[in-house]
Symmetry: C2
Subunit: 368 residues, 2 copies
C-alpha cells in the first residue's frame, strides 16, 4: 500500500500584526517537527511552502533555517487555497515514492498580495471580495429563503468556537444580535460576516505509510482528494452555486469510498458567512434550502461539527496558511487532541478550501 | 505500471523584449496542445505554471484562456529550477493517480524578479550572480588546470549550437577569440561567459502510460528523477563543487537503473561557462580535470552531446521556462525530431537544472 499520513502539526497564533514570513515559517515548522516523536530535521525530504508572498526561494530559506537538506523544495501559490494545493502535492510526492517525509508550511503576512482578483475588472472598481460575497449573499438568501438571522448565526457560531482555539485571530464572543448590528459594508454584508486577512503560519508533516508507523503514535490518513478549477473570473459563476466545490467533493468522496453522510467533522471555507452555507450544501452535508436551519441547529445544540476551530471568520484568514490550518484542525480532532474543542466519536473528517470566489476548490478527506 | 511520459511540447521564441507573461504562456501552451495528435484542452486535468513572476492565480488564468477546467492548478517557484520542479511535481500527480494529463508551462519576462539572491548579503553589495560565478570560475580553473580557452570553448560551442535552434535568444555565432576578447565583467568572467535573462515560455504535456499510448505516437518516458537542496546561501558552498548536482544525479541514475556512461545527450545548466564544466563533472560524464578537454573534443568534432539547443548561454535564460525548455530539447532529440540539431542513435537523455549558485539541483533522465 501507498497510504500517506499526517504525522505532525505546528502553528503560530494568527494576528493582525504585519508578520515577518520567515519568522512565522520558522515558528510553525519548529512546533511541527517537535510534535513528532521520532523525527529530526535531517529526516525531512521535501519542503513545500504555500504563500502569496512575493519572496523567492522560501523553501530553501526555511530549510536552511531549520537544518533541513531536502530533495524537493519550492513555493506554491494558488491564492486562498494555496495550502491544500501544497498538501495534495506533498501527498503525490510521497505516494509516488519520490520522498518519505515532507513538510508543508503555509504562511502569510496580513499585507501580502493575493487578496483581490486583480485581473478581473468586470465589475469596474468593485474588485474587493466583499462585492462578490455580497452578490452571492443576496442571490443565495433569495433563492433558498435564508434569513438574515441564519447568516448571522454562522458568524456567531464561528466566533464562539474560536474562543477555544488558542491560535485564533478572534478571542471575542459575538452574539447574533451583535453580528446583525455590526457595521454595514454593502447592502447584504456586515463587517462580522467577513473573515479577516491576518498574519500567521501553519505546518504539517506528511509521511509514507512505512515511516508514519515508526515516527507517529496516531497517524491520520489522507483517504480522499478532489480538486477543481472552473474559471479565473467570478463573472461566469452562477450566483447560488459553487460548482468547483461540488465537483471536487464528488471526486474526494469517490476516492475515499464514502458519502457526505459519513463526514463527522468538517472545516469549510467561510471567507464570508454565506460561503459556509453554500459549502455545506455543495458538499452534500445538507440541502441548500435547509442550510440555514442546519447551522441554527448546530448553534443551538452547541454541536461543533462545522468549523470547530472557528473557521476563517473566527480564526482569521492568512491566505497561504488557511488550508493547512484547516487540515491541522481536522487531523487533531481525529486524534482526539482538540482539548476544549474536542468532538467525540470521530472517524472521518473533511477539509474544504477554495480560491477566488469559489472558482477553484480543494476537498480532502481524512480518517484516523 | 505507472510510467509517465512527455507527449507534447510547445515553445515561444526567447527574446530580450519585456514580455507579457499571460501572452507568452498562451502561445507556448497553444503550440504544446496542438503538437499532440489526439488531445483537446478539456482533456487536461492539471495546469502547473512555473515562474518567478509575482502575478497570482496564473494557473487559473491560463486555464481560462485555453478553455481548460483542470482539477489541479497552481504556480510553482524555486528560482532558476522552477521548471524542473513543476515537471517533477506533474510526474508525481500522474504517478499517484490524481490526474492523467498535466500541462507544465514555464514563463518569465526579462524584468521579472528572481535574478539575484536578495537575502544573501554575505558578500555585501556583490550580490549579482556574476560574483559567485566569478569565484567559482577562479577556483575551478586553479584546482583543475582549466584554461581560459577551454572556458571560452563552452560559450563558442553553445552559441554555435544555438544557431540551429529557432527559439534561441542568440542567433549569432561567436568564435573562441570573440569570447576571449568580449567585454570583461570581473577578473574571471567576460560578457560572453554569461547567459542572458530574457522573456519566453515553454510548455510540456505529461500523460499517464495508458493515456500516452492513445494520444502520442512517440511518448518519451521519465525514467529517473533526483533533486537536492543543500543551502539557501552560496557561502556554504565549496567553490569547486556542486554538491546538490552530485547527489541529485546519483538518485536519478539509481531510479533509472543507469550510470553516467549511458547518457547519450544532456542539457546542463550553463548559467555561466564554468557551470557547464562543473555540471558534466558532477554528473559523472567526465572527470573534473578532464572537463575542459572533454568540451574541446566535442567542439572540434562538432559533437552536440552537451547542450544541443545552445544551453542557457546560447538559448537564453528565462528563469521559470528554462528547465522546461531543457526538457523539451531532450525529449525532441529522443524523438528524432530535432532537425538540424539532431544527434543520431539516442536512447537516454538527461536534464540538469539548478538554482541559486548550485545550492539546489534537479536531474531528470528520459528514455524513448
Amino acid at each position: 500500500m501507498n497510504d500517506v499520513a499526517i504525522v505532525g502539526t505546528g502553528q503560530t497564533k494568527f494576528s493582525k500584526d504585519d508578520g515577518d514570513v520567515e519568522k512565522l515559517l520558522f515558528e510553525s515548522t519548529k512546533n511541527c517537527i517537535q510534535s513528532v516523536r521520532n523525527c529530526e530535521p535531517k529526516d525531512v525530504e521535501g519542503v513545500l511552502v504555500s504563500t502569496n508572498n512575493n519572496s523567492k526561494y522560501l523553501g530553501a530559506i526555511l530549510s536552511e533555517t531549520m537544518g533541513i537538506q531536502p530533495k524537493i523544495s519550492h513555493s506554491i501559490e494558488h491564492l486562498c487555497s494555496s495550502g491544500t494545493n501544497a498538501l495534495i502535492s506533498g501527498y503525490a510526492y510521497i505516494f509516488s515514492g519520490l520522498a518519505d517525509i515532507i513538510l508543508i508550511s503555509g504562511v502569510e503576512s496580513a499585507t501580502n498580495p493575493g487578496q483581490i482578483l486583480e485581473w478581473d475588472k468586470s465589475r469596474g472598481s468593485f474588485e474587493h471580495p466583499i462585492y462578490w460575497a455580497s452578490m452571492l449573499t443576496k442571490s443565495y438568501k433569495r433563492k433558498f429563503q435564508i434569513t438574515e438571522e441564519e447568516l448571522a448565526i454562522v458568524s456567531a457560531k464561528n466566533h464562539k468556537q474560536a474562543m477555544d482555539n488558542p491560535f485564533a485571530y478572534s478571542n471575542e464572543p459575538r452574539t447574533i444580535s451583535e453580528v446583525m448590528n455590526s457595521k454595514q459594508i454593502t447592502d447584504d454584508l456586515r463587517i462580522l460576516d467577513c473573515s479577516r486577512s491576518c498574519s500567521g503560519s501553519s505546518s504539517i508533516l506528511l509521511a509514507s505509510e512505512e515511516k508514519a508507523k515508526t515516527i507517529s503514535d496516531q497517524p491520520i490518513w489522507i483517504k480522499g482528494i478532489g480538486q477543481k478549477t472552473t474559471s479565473a473570473s467570478f463573472t461566469k459563476n452562477i450566483l447560488e452555486e459553487i460548482e468547483s466545490t461540488r465537483i471536487a467533493a464528488k471526486t474526494a468522496y469517490k476516492m475515499a469510498k464514502i458519502g457526505p453522510n459519513d463526514v463527522n467533522v468538517a472545516e469549510v471555507h467561510d471567507a464570508f458567512s454565506v460561503c459556509e452555507l453554500m459549502a455545506i450544501s455543495e458538499l452534500g452535508i445538507t440541502a441548500s434550502d435547509k442550510s440555514g436551519e442546519f447551522v441554527r441547529d448546530l448553534f443551538n445544540t452547541e454541536n461543533r461539527m462545522i468549523n470547530p476551530r472557528g473557521g476563517l471568520i473566527g480564526a482569521g484568514h492568512p491566505l497561504g496558511a488557511t488550508g493547512i490550518s484547516q487540515t491541522i484542525e481536522i487531523a487533531t480532532q481525529l486524534q482526539g487532541k482538540s482539548e476544549k474543542r474536542q468532538i467525540s466519536n470521530l472517524k472521518t473528517g473533511l477539509i474544504h478550501n477554495m480560491s477566488a470566489a469559489g472558482t477553484s476548490s480543494s476537498v480532502v478527506v481524512l480518517e484516523n
